[in-house]
Amino acid sequence: MAIKNQIKIVLQSLSENVAIARVTAAAFAAQIDFTLNEIEEIRVAVSEAVSNVVIHGYAEQQGQIELIMNLYEDKLEYIIVDTGKGIADVLLARQPSYSSDPERMGLGFIFMESFMDELDVTSEVNKGTTVRMAKKIVSSAAH
């Protein structure tokens, strides 16, 4: 399916950029007739994905995060790409309460999965991780 609109941004892996990423994601979503709750879900999902990169992917070291936003006829897609340390076992990392740190909830992937309609995580150790998630656009005629 053809891409109707696209924005790509590259962020330095810094915790202060997580807010910029989610604000940008919400601004991109604003072109669709989403509800405020749906926009909030996108903000949280993108925030979780980018936080994961800063905390785990680059382990708070320097690195670049690519955020690609695609608008299709029937869905809005967000792709978050890093070239950090990767995830050894993606299936395990996606389990609830999986976290390497007791102060963290291990809910990042759960939020992404619950708030978006599609979530694919591909990762290779020492190469990086790509998180692709999408939210369906329900046409206003169907409302």
Partner: protein, 111 residues
């Protein structure tokens, strides 16, 4: 993020303003833990009226304080939560273990 802490009837009240994400999580944790330590009180009440955003990093700090306070026999209460923030609490399961109130006064009455 802006945090105000005060003591009322032996409860540490923490008023939070802004967005609770990973960027501010460490600072949020430190401020709350310091206030708990210096005040020596058992209970804590988070006023989240001015919190416009929370994700798992912010929730993690609240859950961490809950575990600590609960183990010491204290209670954690939350007052004034924004509707868009509630669903995040709901999904995390925190709504099942922490009580929510409409106002600080209502929460304090229930202790």
């Amino acid at each position: 993020m802006n945090i105000t802490t005060l003591l009322k009837r032996g409860v540490l009240i923490v008023r939070v303003e802004g967005e609770l994400d990973m960027h501010v999580a460490d600072k949020f944790r430190q401020i709350v833990d310091n206030a708990l330590e210096t005040s020596g009180v058992k209970h804590i009440l988070f006023n989240l009226e001015a919190v416009k955003f929370i994700d798992s990093s912010g929730l993690g700090v609240i859950l961490g304080r809950y575990k600590k306070i609960n183990a010491a026999g204290g209670k954690v209460l939350i007052a004034h939560i924004q509707p868009q923030v509630i669903q995040i609490f709901e999904l995390s399961g925190l709504l099942k273990i922490i009580k929510f109130y409409n106002s600080e006064a209502e929460a304090l009455e229930c202790l």
